[in-house]
């Protein structure tokens, strides 16, 4: 079979993942694969860019697909060369460098670009961003910001969303006085409600970040480099550098020019195919599925998988159903998790809320029909792992709503021998209770070794030996010397030819009179019954092998019953 050609436009987290998924499904036997990447690197993990900014990582640390990977897998990569034109009639793409590649199947995974609003004074005379003004999107952006911040004193980040706060935090860490200006009334308005946003703001301010909400930036001030910002309300702020993190816009122009339907992004069906052309797919931030454009990694990778299943025929029915949105982030040590909606939308929506502003803890869950549809966790987020899974899977929630917010139930505490209930299990390996140890002591085993031999407590993994010793000492201290002595019933133990005694797990005894091979006289049988009635023996068991077992005999009655049964058996 001749291979077809798969051309992938975009080498970011969606495009490269899609190719990996295609290869994992045996796609190298089906396709020759060619990729174009705008940035001059292999594919890197954009999630970890803040590490570049704060200097904790190098570019190598966040690379996912190194150049060697492309070589090994036989994927041809044109890096640092963007595709400028798609000719759907000829089925070719053309790059800025003039490379023309024909395709059988095309995947557009061009992602998105930082959105820099048309502020006055943003660009210099040559149409480039003014020195000191940065977008926050790519590896190069990060390198530029980090280098500039070393000499800057005061930095302003425009945008109080996930990326903006991340950038502001990093700038603070680089030694700048760090400010955030945000258009909306509270920080992280997509992830938090007003209460949560307010608490986050106070917490961040406590860490030295300066937050300005409800501020619409109008102008970047400064002649040949940034010197400040002006706002719609007439106020200004002076600064040495500005980082714009005001959202992203899909890179979908290329689709538009190729004649594909583009609304907010390239419109695709459930197979991630363009609705206009079955040989063209789109995944990631440049794709619009059922009216939604996704910007988080998990949905991108879900889409990549559907694409790979579909294009390789691995699963021709593969369909993307949309993704649920949840995020976690950590800003200046404040941990935050957010999922789904932030406010109830339906009068039946149940809201469970807890706030402890002094500690910066805020928890809010929105439950609909017993399923989680929204949640905010801030400060103390130990339940985030569980809740995000329940949200992802639409899993039924436990009735106890409090348990959704907190880990209930204290850790088990060490109890003294005295406090321990008699039925408490001491030796798990051999099923020995506190009561059984007490009984062994009462029967004359006065040191731990003897108790262990008699009950097998501590004779498995041995981890309870300390406890067995403590309990033996405890019982030995309080046990009076034995007056009447059935001699030491081992466990299980055969005392003589006539009666067998055995310690049960609950510390009571089992007594088995000898009814040899099922033979006994009517008088003996009657006598056994009389003894059982007389001493209120709780249970009589007719056992296999023609024996009768009196079970649940308390320690105090043991000797007396013993004697009477012995007589009965001897009759």
């Amino acid at each position: 079979m001749t291979k077809r050609k798969l051309v992938v436009v975009g080498n970011g987290m969606a495009g490269a993942r899609a190719v990996e998924d295609v290869l994992a499904r045996g796609g190298d036997a089906l396709f020759d694969i060619v990729m174009f990447g705008d940035e001059p690197y292999g594919n890197y993990n954009r999630i970890l860019l803040s590490g570049i900014l704060n200097g904790s990582k190098t570019a190598d640390d966040i690379l996912i697909n190194t150049p060697a990977w492309y070589a090994e897998t036989g994927v041809k990569l044109h890096s640092g060369d963007r595709v400028v034109e798609i000719d759907r009639a000829a089925k070719t793409v053309r790059s800025a460098a003039g490379t023309v590649e024909p395709y059988d199947v095309l995947l557009i995974a061009t992602g998105s670009k930082a959105f820099v609003p048309p502020f006055k004074g943003a660009m210099d005379a040559d149409g480039r961003m003014k020195p000191g003004l940065f977008a926050y999107r790519t590896l190069d952006d990060c390198h530029g910001i980090a280098a500039f911040a070393r000499t800057a004193r005061k930095a302003v980040t425009i945008g109080g969303g996930l990326l903006g706060l991340e950038a502001a935090r990093a700038l603070g860490g680089l030694g700048c006085e760090s400010h955030v200006v945000h258009l909306a009334g509270h920080l992280l308005e997509l992830q938090l409600d007003a209460t949560g946003g307010g608490m986050l703001r106070r917490t961040m301010e406590g860490f030295g970040l300066h937050v300005h909400t409800g501020k619409a930036t109008t102008e970047i001030l400064g002649e040949d480099r940034v010197s400040g910002l002006a706002f719609k309300d007439g106020t200004t702020i002076d600064c040495d550098m500005v980082v714009v993190a005001a959202g992203v816009r899909p890179n979908s122009e290329i689709g538009l020019r190729a004649g594909l339907t583009v609304e907010r992004a390239i419109v695709v069906n459930d197979h991630m195919q363009s609705i206009d052309d079955r040989s063209v797919y789109a995944v990631g931030e440049c794709a619009q599925h059922r009216g939604k454009v996704y910007g988080l990694v998990a949905p991108l990778w879900d889409q990549a998988k559907v694409f790979a299943d579909h294009v390789t025929g691995h699963d021709a029915q593969a369909a993307y159903q949309g993704s649920k949105l949840a995020t976690k982030l950590k800003v200046m040590g404040v941990e935050l998790a957010s999922m789904g909606i932030t406010e109830p939308k339906d009068e039946h929506d149940e809201v469970i809320q807890f706030a402890e502003p002094k500690r910066g803890t805020y928890k809010k869950l929105i439950v609909r029909d017993g399923r989680l549809v929204g949640g905010i966790l801030m400060g103390e987020i130990s339940k985030a792992a569980y809740l995000m899974q329940a949200f992802d899977r639409d899993a039924p929630l436990p009735e106890e709503r409090l348990a959704l917010l907190f880990d209930l139930g204290a850790a088990p505490q060490a109890v003294s021998p005295e406090e321990m209930p008699a039925e408490a299990r001491v030796c798990n390996c051999n099923g020995v209770s506190k009561g059984a140890i007490g009984a062994a002591v009462a029967c004359g085993h006065r040191d731990a070794a003897a108790v262990m031999a008699a009950t097998r407590a501590g004779m498995g993994c041995g981890s309870c030996r300390g406890q067995v010793e403590a309990l033996t000492a405890y019982f030995a201290d309080q046990a009076p010397p034995l007056a009447v002595a059935p001699e030491v019933p081992d466990e299980p133990s055969r005392l003589d030819g006539h009666v067998q005694a055995r310690i049960l797990e609950d510390g009571t005894f089992s007594l088995v009179p000898d009814t040899a091979d099922g033979h006994c006289t009517p008088a003996q049988l009657l006598r056994i019954a009389e003894v059982a009635v007389k001493y209120n023996v709780p249970g009589v068991r007719l056992m296999a092998h023609d024996r009768i077992d009196l079970v649940g005999v308390p320690k105090d009655d043991l000797a007396r019953i013993w004697d009477e049964l012995y007589l009965a058996a001897a009759e």
């Binding site: 329940a390 993994c461 299980p492 056992m543 092998h545």
Partner: protein, 713 residues
């Protein structure tokens, strides 16, 4: 120790044939620890178990070990062959000649009509090395069938494949278990030795007492997890993602050992790339393990001077079992924690002779000495020992699950011989297995008791057990041990070796089938010589003198090999191999119809399918029936209280069991132990999705629904 009251006297014949019984040093009949014990006779000749200070268990035994002697006097013991004259008819007692003649004649007939591969053989990880070896030889030489496999496929096959892939050799532990006490950090993934092999815990306890740290990965806060420094309570089926996440943190935070990676491994780059895709946030969402715990675990392992990574059935019994284990091996390798003293990856295998059982030829693709049946050189070596033409040996056959699938109507297998295995209880989607076996032309089962599988057979052969015959076992450390005969089998019972010898003769096979264990072992030694699992230098005398011998032991002067890989790995270039494994979701995940995860496992008082332990009165009393563990919060929402009957249903089947409420399990997960049959069989529920490499079924993960079985009173 004395006998359980109610045990019958030993048979008269045994007393007559044997000299007066004496104490016998041997090993436990159950799990892969093979704890040393002494069988001590009383005045009447009845044995009881006494502690024995053997270097593995040091006198410790769990309740299964202590009560093991009850098996020798069980009133339920089969003592005569049974034959079913018509399908659906009753089993009747028969003589040995009649039974063996019948089996041989039917085998010949089926072979004539459908070809040699139509007769399948299903063995067990409880068979001694000698019997496992003999069974493999019987299948290949006397029956000429390719189709032999064993229940070890359900147990350690994923670990075996991953271990071989990484290190070039498959031995449960590359070090003696006592080393566990000496290492600084341990990660145990999906194993619960505190419940399943209690005497092993003394080493973990000693390790922690020394200041060592223990990390346990388990969806349940198991008895082992309760003793851990850190418990990672994973979502079932997410082990591979967790391991990749741990590696991500290790790389991110500079905890890896670049010198080790460069000098002693290959293939790291591709693994690094996959780890790069598993940052902690993402792994938290997949696994349900909080990010800070993932980070802490990576640091505990990475910062320790020495560390071990141990896996169990949790990650192994999945449709990505091999990859899960590889992911944990990758972690150990990247941290430089392998091939050095007190370091390494190991698997805590389950069955008594799971290790030896897979080395000597009862696996579909293997010949004795861990040789490959598809390798012409290996075939020639073994054929020479057997005195047959290499070309006469069949090729690789069907794996366990596929072998049982092939017993379906219209399938390739028309007759099946089962030894030491209760497949009707232990196989996934068990109801279908039972149905298929009922429809076979001939089902022959050898067992001590009328197990659920034996009850379906056309011919049942009563076999000798444990203390009634000689043989060797290889425990999870690779230590070859001797199980000595303490008494004769009851009259009417024969050993499997005697049966195979008699059947081979009736099938007209010219090759030797010795029924004597030591003679068989001598042949096994020759057949394993030069193989990976080389037993050539091991003898019964050495085992007795040295408290067992570790393989490989190529000649009489060789000391054996307690610790593997210190000088290099068993790969062609001596380097350990990373495996670029990309974690996948489980084959079946919860949805609206089946909203919970189901996972399965063991309880202390029972062993495997329970054929033996359910017949020990003290064990039966301690754990009389199956149950479902459920979180109290989950139970409350479903209107279930402690001890209620609950009905569990999956796409394969449905069972009713009592609830056991415990906050130690995840809110979204249910647990059912698998030791019971009939209406309580956990494996009526489990999923037969297979690992593509090991063919291990997905016992540990599927989607389940739970409701109250009866209306509230």
């Amino acid at each position: 120790m004395n006998h359980h009251p109610g045990a019958p006297a030993p048979s008269q014949a045994a007393a007559l044939n044997d000299p007066a019984p004496v104490p016998v040093d041997t090993h436990c009949p159950y799990c892969a620890l093979q704890c040393g014990m002494t069988l001590v006779p009383d005045a009447e000749g009845r044995f009881s178990v006494a502690a024995r200070d053997f270097p593995t268990n040091k006198g410790g035994l769990c309740r299964k070990g202590w009560t093991a002697a009850a098996l020798l006097v069980s009133p339920e013991r089969l003592t005569t062959p049974l034959i079913r004259d018509t399908k659906g008819g009753p089993l009747r007692a028969a003589g040995w000649d009649e039974a063996l003649d019948l089996v041989a004649a039917r085998f010949r007939d089926i072979r004539a009509r459908h070809g040699a591969d139509a007769v399948g053989v299903f063995g067990g990880g409880g068979l001694t090395n000698e019997k496992a070896y003999l069974l493999g030889k019987f299948a290949r030489v006397a029956l000429g069938t390719a189709n032999i496999d064993y229940n070890g496929r359900y147990c350690m096959s994923s670990a075996a494949a991953a271990g071989s892939r990484a290190f070039g050799i498959d031995r449960g532990l590359p070090f003696p278990m006592a080393d566990i006490a000496e290492t600084d950090a341990i990660l145990v993934a999906g194993s619960n030795p505190a419940e399943t092999m209690p005497p092993l815990m003394q080493y973990f306890d000693a390790q922690r007492a020394r200041g060592g740290r223990l990390i346990v990965v388990d969806p349940r806060r198991s008895a082992t997890a309760q003793r851990a420094t850190l418990h990672l309570q994973t979502t079932p089926g997410t082990d591979g993602a967790l391991a990749a996440g741990l590696l991500h943190v290790a790389i991110r935070d500079g905890l890896t050992d670049p010198d080790f990676i460069a000098a002693r491994t290959s293939g790291f780059e591709a693994v690094r790339r996959i780890a790069a895709q598993h940052w902690p946030d993402r792994v938290e969402r997949i696994t349900g393990v909080p990010e800070r715990q993932i980070v802490e675990a990576a640091h505990i392992l990475g910062e320790a001077a020495t560390a071990m990574v141990l896996t169990g059935r949790g990650p192994e019994q999945q449709s990505q079992g091999v990859d899960n284990v590889s992911a944990f091996i990758n972690l150990a390798l990247a941290l430089g924690k392998a091939g050095r003293p007190l370091c390494g990856w190991g698997t805590l295998t389950g069955q008594g002779n799971g290790q030896g059982g897979r080395e000597h030829g009862q696996k579909a693709d293997q010949l004795p000495g861990y040789r490959k049946i598809a390798d012409p050189r290996h075939r020639a070596e073994v054929a020479a020992v057997w005195g047959v033409d290499p070309a006469s040996l069949p090729g690789p056959g069907l794996s366990a699950t596929e072998l049982l699938d092939a017993t379906a109507p219209g399938g390739a297998v028309k007759a099946l011989m089962v030894l030491a295995s209760n497949v009707v209880v232990s196989s996934p989607a068990a109801a279908r297995v039972a149905e298929n076996l009922r429809g076979l032309e001939l089902l022959v089962v050898s067992d001590l008791f009328l197990s659920e599988t034996a009850a379906l057979a056309d011919v049942v052969l009563p076999t000798a057990q444990w203390a009634e015959e000689d043989g060797t076992m290889t425990n999870l450390e690779g230590r070859v041990l001797r199980r000595a005969r303490a008494q004769a089998p009851p009259p009417g019972v024969r050993t499997d070796a005697e049966v195979l010898q008699a059947l081979a003769r009736r099938l007209g096979c010219a090759a030797d089938f010795s029924a004597d264990a030591e003679t068989g072992f001598a042949e096994l030694r020759r057949a394993s010589r030069g193989g990976l699992a080389d037993y050539a230098g091991i003898s019964y005398a050495r085992i007795a003198a040295e408290d067992g011998v570790f393989w490989p032991c190529p000649d009489d002067d060789h000391p054996g090999t307690p610790r593997l890989f210190l000088d290099g790995f068993a790969t062609p270039d001596g380097r350990a191999r990373f495996a670029a494994v990309q974690p996948r979701p489980a084959a079946e995940v919860p949805d609206d119809d089946f909203p919970y995860w189901l996972t399965t496992g063991r309880v202390m008082g029972q062993y495997q399918s329970g054929t033996q332990t359910r017949r020990v009165p003290e064990l039966a009393a301690a754990e009389p029936s199956a149950f479902v563990e459920i979180h109290p919060q989950t139970a409350r929402g479903l209107g279930l209280a402690e001890g209620d009957m609950a009905r569990l249903t999956t796409r394969r089947g449905s069972i009713a069991v009592r609830t056991r409420l415990t906050p130690a399990i995840r809110l979204d997960t249910l647990f059912v132990p698998f030791h019971w049959g009939d209406g309580q069989s956990a494996n009526a529920l489990t999923h037969a999705a297979l690992d593509p490499i090991s063919r291990m079924p997905e016992f540990k993960v599927c989607a389940v629904r739970i409701v109250r079985d009866a209306p509230p009173p």
